[in-house]
Amino acid sequence: MIEVRFHGRGGQGAVTAANILASSAFKEGKYVQAFPFFGVERRGAPVTAFTRIDDKPIRIKTQIYEPDIVVVLDPSLLETVDVTAGLKDGGTVIVNTEKSKDEVLKELKKKPAKLALVDATTIALEVLGLPITNTAILGAVAKATGIVGLDYVKEAIKETFSGALGEKNAKAAEEAYNKTVVYEL
């Protein structure tokens, strides 16, 4: 079972990202589970969401405490939230940031085995005209982890957002896929 934890801020679409990731993996024939941290959501406040992916039905009904993959949608969260809390040894961290690898590593409490960086905010502003990074970041997830194929991610995005909005968001994911830099540490 692969466990993914998303960190974002209320309004950035972390919960939607967790759902789309689950739908993408489902399209590849996996069993999935996606859910928000069962907290009180407010716009701008730190938000957590989770995705589980497995080859068999998922019975466990708890939050994720020891993720394999951590996805950070908002760069400012690195300063306030311990995003690597419980990260498994050998785990991957994916961050939306314009900062360098060394700058990001300085802000992480635990060094991951793999770090992937992408400036998803700029991509989202260019492609969508909005700083909503949840679809772009999924392109980075596909690139950095291989747990889902980009085509499935794009398909799931287009099912979530209909028409031109879906096309644009799928394009944001593809741009992010192409621009994500992955570091094996």
Binding site: A22, S23, F26, P36, F38, I60, T62
Partner: protein, 395 residues
């Protein structure tokens, strides 16, 4: 018969409920929104707006009115549904008696939510269990699939015995969690659940009836007996419907208590609803480490499956009853019921009550392990340290 090819979708527990309502060809929905139930009725409203169903939707000003309108609809012979949670269910309380007393086969989804104050929107079973004595049957879903299957079976059971059914799911843990659900093609749902055939309706003007009329002491008693007997008779119907569901769609519900590894277990975990999914995961882990443990997931709390509980109690040395609920001044409600059901049977397993997860506190595999270690010690020593343990209490 048409070959069964399920339609697999990734949906939340609430959407699973809404799809089941559509597939059951419900005719009337009357409801009032409340977190975390709202997305059930929003999804139903969306189906109606899209023209995917011809459900009559009655927006009302409170849950009391929601149940009243559902009762009215059901009394005309319609298949009727509503959904609520916590304080909303409490506000319905008076009308719940009217529904069961009038023997109306209404199905309702209650999304288990903690009662306030203090204010909470998270999972807790006390809201539904506090409606224990209203004459409704209660089915507890472990996962989104069981929410969907539960609603479909509930209508069939309810309409067979003329007793309403509450299908219960967990706040957020199911209601807002997306998971894979196998849905059944409409024509096959129609074969399983044909249109309701009411014995009496308010709108059959050639055979006028009155509903909820006065019963003097000469008759009231027999009405109560008939409702009591309907619950006892429902056990057979529940098993038959559960078996038929399994034969048609591959998921068997013929047991009112789902059992795992009971035959060679020293002790079992017993509980209701979504927390049993985590228990199953933990039981597999514990068994791989040599623990002789099993589980008993109580699917139907009303009618209470005394006979199946006794079969389990005769096989094991101990039962750890997990209650995400509490009856103040006494103990966990499932624990209380289970002990009561076994008194006088001769079966005397050691029973301990663990109060867990109230108000949505996470109940984890690690917690199940800690309980297993405690139960193992109790069984080996033969000494019960305490009967009721507030398991998560901050000390």
């Amino acid at each position: 018969m048409v070959e069964y090819k399920p339609i697999r979708k990734v949906v939340s527990g609430n959407y699973a409920a809404a799809y089941a309502v559509k597939h059951a060809r419900v005719q009337v929905v009357a409801a009032y929104p409340i977190t975390p139930q709202t997305s059930i009725i929003e999804k139903i409203a969306e189906f109606i707006a899209n023209g995917e169903t011809d459900i009559q939707y009655v927006p009302v000003e409170s849950e009391h009115s929601a149940m009243a309108a559902t009762i009215g609809a059901s009394a005309t012979g319609a298949r009727a549904f509503t959904a609520t949670a916590a304080q909303g269910l409490a506000l319905m309380h008076e009308m719940l008696h009217w529904a069961s007393g009038a023997r109306l086969p209404i199905v309702m989804v209650d999304v288990n939510r903690a009662m306030a104050p203090p204010w909470s929107v998270w999972d807790d079973q006390t809201d539904s269990l506090a409606q224990r004595d209203t004459g409704w049957m209660q089915f507890y879903a472990e996962n989104n699939q069981e929410v969907y299957d539960g609603v479909l079976m509930a209508f069939k059971v309810a309409e067979t015995v003329n007793v309403p059914v509450m299908v219960v799911e967990s706040a957020f843990i199911l209601s807002h969690t997306y998971d894979v659900v196998e849905m059944i093609p409409q024509e096959l749902v129609d074969e399983f659940l044909p249109p309701r055939k009411p014995l009496y309706t308010l709108t059959d003007f050639d055979n006028p009836i009155s509903v909820g009329a006065l019963a003097t002491p000469a008759d009231y008693y027999e009405f109560r007996y008939k409702l009591a007997k309907a619950h006892e008779d429902a056990k057979k119907v529940i098993k038959e419907v559960g078996k038929e569901f399994g034969e048609r769609f591959g998921r068997d519900y013929s047991d009112m208590i789902e059992k795992g590894h009971v035959d060679d277990a020293d002790f079992v975990f017993m509980g209701l609803g979504s927390l049993m999914g985590t228990v199953k995961e933990a039981v597999d882990l514990l068994r791989s480490e040599g623990y002789k443990v099993g589980y008993a997931k109580v699917r139907w709390f009303r009618p209470f499956p005394r006979e199946e509980l006794l079969e389990i109690a005769e096989k094991v040395k101990g039962i750890a009853v997990l209650d995400r609920n509490f009856s103040f001044g006494q103990e966990g409600i499932l624990f209380n019921e289970a002990k009561g059901a076994l008194y006088g049977t001769g079966a005397r397993p050691i029973m301990k009550n663990y109060i867990v997860g109230l108000g949505g506190r996470d109940f984890t595999v690690r917690d199940v392990r800690a309980i297993a270690e405690n139960m193992k010690e109790i069984i080996e020593s033969g000494k019960l340290d305490r009967e009721v343990e507030w398991f998560h209490l901050k000390r």
